[in-house]
């Protein structure tokens, strides 16, 4: 496997670990963006250009900012006095480990089935994606449109300042 994959994978996993383990919430958020970047690179490495750029645009561009905003708004930046982790954190850890072992076991077991050699890189142009979106996946597209507007309005209402709503 190419060196690049290891580097990028390490970047993503490291970012994720940092995001989970760091004390300061803002640092976690930034670590998260690194993880997102790592994953985007993985996408690119898998020749999914559009997905990678979309990932960068959506996650790093919007979600990260959103998370940071949320942190600031809820004064999460001050480190909580009674420890960062929840009460029964070891249980969580154990369960996460169990899940990972399951998944890993599944992957390893199915080694025989998975294809070995990398197939020729499919040249995916944006045009094809456009056609696919409008052609085969027009319904999901419309639904996603609807979902996004609903989420937009919903988020606004949920977070609206109580005063207006309370009037």
């Amino acid at each position: 496997m190419s060196i690049v994959f290891y580097i990028v994978a390490a970047l993503a996993v490291g970012g994720a670990l940092a995001a989970v383990l760091l004390k300061n919430t803002v640092h976690c958020a930034l670590a998260l963006t690194i993880a997102f970047a790592g994953i985007a690179l993985l996408f690119l490495q898998l020749d999914a250009q559009f997905a990678g750029f979309a990932q960068i645009l959506v996650y790093i561009g919007a979600v990260a900012i959103l998370v940071v905003f949320a942190i600031l708004l809820t004064r999460g930046s001050e480190t909580p006095k009674d420890g960062v982790y929840g009460r029964k954190w070891p249980l969580g850890l154990v369960i996460a480990a169990a899940v990972f072992s399951d998944l890993a076991w599944a992957v390893l077991q199915s080694a025989r089935v998975l294809p070995h050699e990398a197939i020729s890189a499919p040249t995916v142009t944006v045009l094809q994606i456009g056609n696919a979106l409008i052609g085969r996946y027009v319904l999901p597209l419309e639904i996603i449109a609807l979902l996004l507007t609903a989420a937009l309005i919903g988020a606004v209402i949920v977070a609206m300042h109580e005063k207006e709503a309370g009037k």
């Binding site: 993503a12 996993v13 919430t25 942190i71 420890g83 369960i95 609903a150």
Partner: protein
């Protein structure tokens, strides 16, 4: 180790890390972060399978990933909105303290 298996392992690891984050962290936002990570792990899986699947030209995997990204964005927005409103009511984002929905 085929490339696909490595990708899948990375995705599984990411998923586990996200889950650990979600389960252990006290702050609500960090739980959301954990969830975002899990979603990304899933996307990675999708793209990996698409890439090493039998006929990648059908674009299903990638399209699916793209839609999942869109949905995840929406979900993040709503989730954070909720966290903010909870914070306004309960003055805290500590998940252990927020148990008003107790049965």
């Amino acid at each position: 180790m085929t490339p696909l298996m490595s990708y899948l392992l990375v995705a599984a690891l990411l998923f586990a890390i996200g889950l650990a984050g979600a389960l252990t962290r006290r702050n609500a936002i960090l739980v959301l972060i954990g969830i975002e990570l899990m979603l990304n792990a899933a996307n990675l899986n999708l793209i990996a399978f698409w890439r090493y699947g039998p006929h990648p030209e059908s674009l299903t995997g990638m399209m699916f990933a793209i839609f999942s990204i869109a949905v995840a964005a929406a979900e993040a927005a709503v989730g954070l909105g909720l966290v903010i409103s909870i914070h306004r009511h309960a003055r805290t984002t500590d998940l252990d303290a927020i148990n008003r929905m107790k049965g």
